[in-house]
């Protein structure tokens, strides 16, 4: 029983590492019953705060999650 839980723990670690490496390579990962995790690119933006100061936000690659319906 204990051996089985250890295997499950190992498998979970492997799953998370596989998904993480896929995301690092900007791959979209589809997880059944949960949803889809993917990397989206956001362009640089120009934003203005309440005081009128203008900021240039750099571009970014962001991890997004789309839950399964």
């Amino acid at each position: 029983m204990r051996g089985a839980t250890m295997d499950q723990k190992k498998a979970e670690n492997k799953i998370s590492s596989i998904i993480a490496s896929a995301l690092k390579n900007h791959q979209e990962v589809q997880i059944k019953k949960l949803g889809t995790i993917k990397v989206q690119h956001r362009n640089q933006q120009q934003e203005q705060d309440k005081s009128g100061r203008v900021f240039l936000t750099p571009p970014a690659d962001i991890i997004t999650f789309l839950p399964e319906k």
């Binding site: 799953i15 998370s16 979209e28 991890i63």
Partner: protein
């Protein structure tokens, strides 16, 4: 670029060394555990991946901070910058300028629309002069109206307006001498008209005499005036009938002022005398420039060929034992020699030297990644680790400058790396990086240890 469920299961099975069924069972158990935890505790943390949270009827995912940085490694360390007011003003001024430029266009059109009206007085003058000076019309005596009367009539008659427009175009095409004519002509016109002329010159009473004089003058002018042809050509393009009028007007003008037309011809000749040698000198200068440039290119090409031969000789002499040193050494020798001999050569060099360091580097990196792990900020540059992160402090066009900067950093005991990168727009840069790191966070930590010019001006990148 999509990792489907099946692919994920097969990868998991491979990495665990089990069958696909067992891997899928483990995967399902992992998912059920997450759903169960989010249902009970509202959050389920997956180490190395992130946290699943319950949000309303669904689930949201918050990625692990380290993973988010790794994914965003291209832009790591880039923070929002406040745009200075002066820069903003410039942008706004540019925008305004563009808008104003767009507004100017319709104004320009309006001006063009107005310009014919403004030009009517000039055109009318032009139109009046040819009329009175047309030898055919003079002979027939069809036009005996005063110029002032004709000015009043032109705007009313649409056909004549067209004539005016074409006359304006015609005037633009003509040389200055022709454009200036109308200012002097109206004064001369009354004297030239057949009705008035006999009163002023009783000697030239008969039409035959006038006709002979005109013919002679026309012949003279046709010989002297080289611009008459251009006037005729442009006239043909616009109005065929006006051509003789213009030539006749210039001919008539000379009747009262023969000295003026003779002076114009002399001026034209003098222009031609100056223009021809000037053009010859310019052409000669251009030819010399291209000839000299071609010689320089030939020299550069020969030097490049010599360098290639030298490199091949050096490579042949140094056989296989120290592969890592073969690439950089000849380059350094060239660098020592080149600045004295050939200053304008840096452009062709990168193309030659690119392939040398690149193919050598990946092999040891892939082979001994796990064993040696030459990561860190300081130390000698043993090898470039593909996939490692580095802090880029210089990105230069010139390879020599990049090498100088790399050497400077190496003297300060930094693990300096030099490689050539191709930008998305196709341009190439020589990048100098400090240190090699396994993760982005390590690289970010190392930035704080850098001296000031580099601490504030850098970016982290993955060596590929």
């Amino acid at each position: 670029m999509k990792l489907s469920h099946e692919e994920l299961i097969s990868k998991l099975a491979k990495s665990l060394g089990v069958e696909a069924k067992d891997a899928e069972a483990a995967f399902d158990a992992w998912i059920e555990n997450i759903i169960k935890e989010t249902g009970e505790k509202e959050t389920s943390h997956v180490p190395g991946l992130g946290t699943f949270r319950k949000k309303g009827p669904g689930i949201e995912f918050v990625p692990d901070e380290k993973l988010a940085i790794e994914v965003n490694h291209k832009y790591a360390g880039m923070n929002p910058i406040e745009v200075s007011p002066s820069f903003l003003r410039k942008i706004q001024e540019k925008d305004k300028g563009e808008e104003a430029g767009q507004e100017d266009d319709p104004f320009g059109i309006a001006e063009e629309e107005e310009s014919p009206e403004k030009a009517t007085s000039k055109d009318e003058q032009e139109m009046t002069t040819p009329r009175s000076k047309d030898p055919g019309e003079e002979a027939s005596g069809a036009e005996t109206e005063d110029p002032e009367e004709s000015r009043e009539e032109f705007p009313e008659e649409p056909e004549k307006e067209k004539m005016e427009e074409s006359g304006e175009e015609h005037q633009e095409e003509l040389p200055k001498e022709f454009q200036e004519e109308p200012e002097t002509e109206p004064d001369e016109d009354p004297g030239e008209e057949p009705g008035i002329e006999p009163e002023q010159d009783p000697v030239r009473e008969t039409e035959e005499e006038i006709g002979k004089e005109l013919e002679q003058e026309l012949e003279k002018e046709s010989e002297e005036d080289p611009f008459e042809l251009s006037g005729e050509e442009s006239g043909k393009a616009s109005e065929g009938e006006d051509i003789p009028k213009i030539t006749a007007s210039s001919g008539k003008k000379s009747k009262t002022g023969k000295k003026e037309s003779g002076g114009d011809a002399k001026e034209k000749k003098s222009y031609a005398i100056w223009f021809i040698p000037a053009a010859a000198v310019i052409i000669a200068a251009i030819l010399l420039y291209f000839h000299f440039d071609g010689l320089q290119l030939d020299r550069q090409f020969r030097d490049e060929q010599e360098q290639r031969r030298e490199q091949e000789d050096v490579a042949a002499l140094q056989d296989e034992p120290s592969e890592h040193q073969v690439g950089p050494l000849p380059d350094e020798e060239e660098e020592a020699d080149e600045p004295e001999e050939m200053v304008p050569e840096p452009e062709p060099e990168p193309a030659e030297e690119e392939p040398e360091p690149v193919p050598e580097e990946p092999e040891p990196a892939e082979a001994d990644l796990d064993d040696q792990l030459p990561f860190g900020l300081t130390g000698p540059e043993e090898e470039v680790l593909i996939g490692a992160y580095t802090i880029v402090v210089h990105s230069l066009h010139n390879e020599k400058k990049a090498q100088i900067e790399r050497d400077r950093l190496a003297e300060r005991d930094f693990k300096a790396t030099l490689w050539q990168a191709t930008l998305p727009d196709g341009n190439q840069r020589w990048r100098v990086g400090i240190g090699q790191f396994e993760t982005v966070s390590e690289a970010e930590e190392a930035i704080s240890e850098l001296p000031e010019p580099y601490r504030s001006n850098n970016f982290i990148i993955r060596i590929r």
